[in-house]
Amino acid sequence: MAESVIAREGFGAGDAIELRKIGWLERFVGPESYRILRALVKTPVSILGFSLIALFVVVAIAAPWIAPPVNPNDPFSMPRDGFRAEPQPMMSEWNRNQPPLPAWWKPIMGTNQWVHLLGTSEGQYDLFYGIIWGTRTAFKTALIVTFTTLVIGLVVGSISAYYGGKLDNVIMRFVDVMLTLPYIMAALILAAVLTPKIGRSLIPAMVALIVFGWMNYARLIRGDILSVKQRDYVMAARVIGVKDNRILWRHILPNAVFPTLVYASLAIGDVVLSFAALSFLGIGTPTGYADWGQILSFARNWITDLSTYWYIVVWPGLALVLFVMGWNLVGDAFRDVLDPRMRGRGGA
């Protein structure tokens, strides 16, 4: 059925009209979004980015297999080999509280002795375990925060743009106020306020990032709705008497929402970064929780000895950087594709 639909792409001289088949995906998302999606899966930069993200998804899913937890009901508390402060070197043997041996270890190394593959951090927390399970923490917090901020931003931005006038003015000034304080500082305060109320967990930091994170989405969707509102088909719908609600939901939003959605999906890297920053500053997660920011904060007491204990910075830092870089690579490719000057050049 889809194959029977044929579109014209540009008018050549005389009769030479190029004909092109349109697939189901293009019919589904529309020509402009389809062009963007196609460019995204064809640029080397974004392919590299997607591969990095895919790698982390695999690690997150396979975490129980890569690094089996001591207590399957509480996998996010990092196993610790005793309570001494000094970090232990890489490949040193487990002495106490050894978690189950991962299935992949014996075939590769030929021994039954499980080691601290990447060493331990301050307090003898196993780094390898923390980094692997930290991937899950990163995805979990990032997805929840991004989704919630996106929904709030979309609702506030749409209301502001659609109703306009005084309400729009009030909402946008409110957004200005919320943007006055630096993001990380505002989130830091709110997390500090909330922690005594609801205890140390992921929640205070997440709530803080949500409360101060939705404004950019609201601004973005507002701008896009304002420009879509001017299009002829919206005017046409209004002329034939379509109700306001239906115009907003059926005609304006579907055409305006795409850039905001993509922007949000790419902001996941930033959210992970901000969350890690908060727990690096000592706000949020309980001590010993598998979370990259906290593992890095353990390094703060060993600054003078970092030449010996380099692994307590390098490995968790690498995980965090690669994770964020994956999203940034895709984001960079996306910025190029969205650039209006690139339009009509067939792909990236």
Partner: protein, 354 residues
Amino acid sequence: MTTYIVRRLLLIPVLLFGVSVMIFGMLQFLSPVERSALYVRDFPRNDRAVEGIIKRYGLDLPLPIQYWRWLVGKVDSDTGERHGGILFGDFGYSRTASQPVVDLIKQRFPNTLDLTLWAIVPVISVGIWLGVQAAVHHNGFADQGGRVFSIVGTSFPTFVFGLLMLMIFYANLGWFPPGRSSDWASQVINSDQWRSYTYLLTIDSLLNLRFDVFLDTLRHMVLPILTLSYISWATFLRVTRSSMLETLRQDYVVTARAKGLPEKDVINKHARPNALIPVVTVAGFTVVLLMGGVVITETVFNYPGIGSAAAQAAANLDVLTVLGLALFTGLLLILANLVVDVLYAYIDPRLRLQ
């Protein structure tokens, strides 16, 4: 231009009111006893003292009254002393720092200002230079290199970058230590001969003609400055590049080339000044970014500024102190943004002539 500036000026009371209400709102999460530190120094010991203080400062009154009292404080009818009142510069008493929040700010803020002022130099010069190079060599080696740099740069969290810098340049090479100054330098600074003119250590050390102290201070500031500025390089690079590319396509650039000007003059005299106008808008954003950046940078490098004070207080859940520091930062940023806006209106002839 007047309408533009007037419009921005009118926004300021709105922002000030909004930010103060936001901070005041967050204060309401604290119990009345904790909020008593806004007005009194000593933590009340027994229940009766607690009740007395709550009564005297109206910590259980309706919110609008409390808000007003938070702004102007309360004058003691016996002694005539004013307690509290952020409008009169009293932000309350910081229990973790064991001193009034205002004194904490007075003590820490010059250090932060010193750091950010120095950071602005590399932020602007390097960022713009990279952007111009990327645009002039569009799609060439410099452009691709800049692109890689900006992706890698934005992916590096401040604290990871800072820790790596410390690992390389302090732990391994021993070049640039963390902190504010070496022990011998602090002794000089705390001695009687030292005179504080500006409280900015780099400038004061020059005015005291102590070049050894100046070099020591600078040595401690190299890594924080680097960490603070690289975050903004990527932003500046991107904005300068796209604005420069846009400008290089303009007719007057073509004209300049056609009349045979050397390429250097075309870029430096005709294209760059015009391309930099949109870059000024980023400057306001950069000030916010810098103030956010100092929180983490100062913490990583053990630098005694306002950011590390805020982070420390927050980690110890001393909310009142954090809120005081945040309020101060908010006021500062509103002012900084106003300056940037006016500057922008002045630089851009299209706005100036309107």
